[in-house]
């Protein structure tokens, strides 16, 4: 009986089917895990960015697409961040080109003696990193008789001017055909109506293509967060100009647009003790700059590259 009884039980109770992973499923699962891990790794910069940047900063649009009230919001946020990070009360303006102006610079190489006061003035005016002595101006000490910058030196020190040398200050030439603008993959840099090539520091991705493209070495990269003591921060700032730049973006000379678009002269010009620097509006027929172009021997740097600089050098 027992055997009879047991048999149907054994017959009814089917062996449990163990759902072993088929190889297909195992491979699928493995790749799904890998894919998920790769996805997490891929978005991890975003998570880190989220820790360092506010949602508003992350969602901020390109400068040229911002409406006036959005600009006001952005500027208010930047001013608050400067207060928080640097302890300085600053006002960030949004200076737009003055209609009917095209800014042009000229330097009298017969007068410039390479003392470097312009370099220092730029450093202070534009809130550059103090430790690196960063500046938009580089002065090249050149042997007389050539304009080949390869033969120049930027490391000269001591008493200037030396008898067999002349001094060539080089900064952004605000080219009419700017190679730096052409290479930007995200259009974070562009040329404005008054000729100034500007950078939206909040749109720049820091690829440094523009730095490589510039034949004048005029662009600078922020390798680290600029350190400026609170009492040395220039509070007179502008969004496209001298506001303190974030780390990892490219910056450049803007002809001090926070000054020049308000009618004032650039900081490097005011600092020059020799009076070698001349600045003005080339569209104004009575301007200093037009007289120089008409009456002096005027040169431009690396003319053969076709960059059409808005920056002239002259001798007299």
């Amino acid at each position: 009986m027992t055997t009879i009884n047991e048999r149907p039980e054994a017959g009814n109770r089917e062996l449990p089917i163990v759902e072993n992973f088929s190889r297909r499923a195992a491979v699928k699962g493995g790749f799904a895990t890998l894919g998920a891990a790769a996805f997490v790794a891929a978005i991890s910069p975003l998570r880190h960015a989220a820790q360092n940047t506010s949602a508003a900063e992350f969602l901020q649009k390109h400068y040229t697409e911002l409406s006036d009230e959005q600009k006001a919001d952005v500027i208010a946020r930047l001013e608050a961040e400067t207060k928080k990070n640097y302890g300085a009360e600053v006002t960030i303006g949004d200076d737009r080109p003055i209609p009917g102006t095209k800014f042009v610079y000229a330097i009298n190489l017969s007068v410039c003696n390479g003392n470097g006061k312009c370099v220092e003035a730029c450093h202070k005016e534009n809130n550059h990193d103090r430790a690196t002595h960063q500046s938009y101006i580089r002065i090249v000490e050149m042997p007389k008789g050539t304009l080949d910058m390869e033969q120049g030196s930027t490391t000269y020190t001591g008493v200037v001017p030396k008898d067999d040398k002349f001094y060539l200050p080089v900064q952004c030439q605000q080219c009419d055909e700017p190679p730096c603008v052409d290479v930007c993959p995200v259009k974070a840099t562009w040329k404005e109506e008054d000729g100034i090539v500007v950078v939206d520091y909040n749109w720049c991705i820091g690829c440094r293509y523009c730095e490589a493209a510039c034949p004048y070495h005029a662009r600078r990269f922020n390798w680290k967060k600029p350190e400026v003591p609170a009492d040395q921060v220039n509070p007179d700032q502008s969004y496209l100009s001298n506001r303190i730049r974030p780390v990892g973006v490219v910056e450049k000379c803007t002809y001090c647009l926070h000054r020049t678009r308000r009618g004032r002269l650039p900081a490097c010009l005011e600092a020059c003790p020799t009076g070698a620097r001349v600045f003005g509006n080339i569209l104004d027929e009575d301007s200093n700059i037009r007289w120089i172009l008409d009456n002096k021997r005027v040169y431009i740097l690396k003319e053969e590259l076709g960059t059409k600089p808005a920056f002239f050098y002259y001798f007299d």
Binding site: R96, V111, N113, N115, V119, H123, T154, V278, G280, N295
Partner: protein
């Protein structure tokens, strides 16, 4: 596997919904902003035309010396006060000696004056009749404050460049409709007795990678 697929699908649906929400909200924001943006631009244009209507409202100010120079006396009085005297204090009672061409021949005052200004002598520029004035080559007296008139007699090229902003430093505004401009005087930069611009010492250097010290030494050895 079904659960994973469901989760993925849910994720995709969430992403699509959030994208739609973001585009809708931003386009909502953008619509009024376009009309608002047009207004400030028109306002700006009218403001600038208003400025253009009265151009050059601010002057170009050329710095001037306050007046004739004063000679600071070497000693102090019993109260410890120092004093300075006008040139005429001595020169009004001493007849001019036209034999003195340079500072070397002086035996009493102004000894050791560094003079390096071509073939000029003292009374080429100083007025022998009034020590507190200067004198042009044609004999016209000139105030010390108007010293640039004197310089311009010989340095007309520099004066022309100066008039067009191509010589001499300046401060203030390039746009005279917005503010004044201050220009240097000749003697702000040039000592009239030794007018060569002085040598200077470089004290500020950027420390970027182009200024790496080793690289500089390497360049020099080549």
């Amino acid at each position: 596997m079904v659960r994973l697929a469901n989760l993925l699908f849910a994720g995709v649906v969430c992403a699509v919904i959030s994208m739609v929400i973001v585009t809708v909200t931003t386009s909502d924001r953008r619509a009024p902003s376009h009309s608002e943006r047009a207004h400030p631009h028109s306002g700006l244009a009218s403001a600038t035309t208003g400025v253009l209507a009265n151009p050059a409202t601010f002057p170009i100010v050329i710095r001037k010396p306050a007046g004739p120079p004063q000679i600071k006396l070497a000693g102090t009085d019993p109260q410890g006060r120092s004093a300075s005297v006008a040139c005429a204090t001595c020169h009004s009672v001493r007849p001019p000696n036209f034999d003195n061409q340079t500072a070397q021949s002086l035996d009493e005052f102004h000894q050791g004056l560094q003079f390096n200004h071509g073939q000029l002598s003292c009374y080429s520029c100083h007025n022998p009749e009034n020590a507190d004035e200067l004198r042009l080559a044609d004999g016209t007296a000139v105030e010390y404050a108007d010293v640039m008139t004197l310089c311009t007699q010989c340095h007309s090229k520099q004066a022309e460049s100066f008039a067009h902003g191509a010589h001499g430093g300046m401060n203030g505004f390039w746009d005279l409709s917005r503010g004044p401009q201050t220009k240097n005087n000749c003697i702000d930069c040039h000592d009239p007795h030794a007018p060569n611009y002085p040598k200077m010492i470089v004290d500020f250097k950027p420390r970027d990678r182009f200024l790496d010290l080793q690289r500089a030494e390497h360049d020099n050895h080549k």
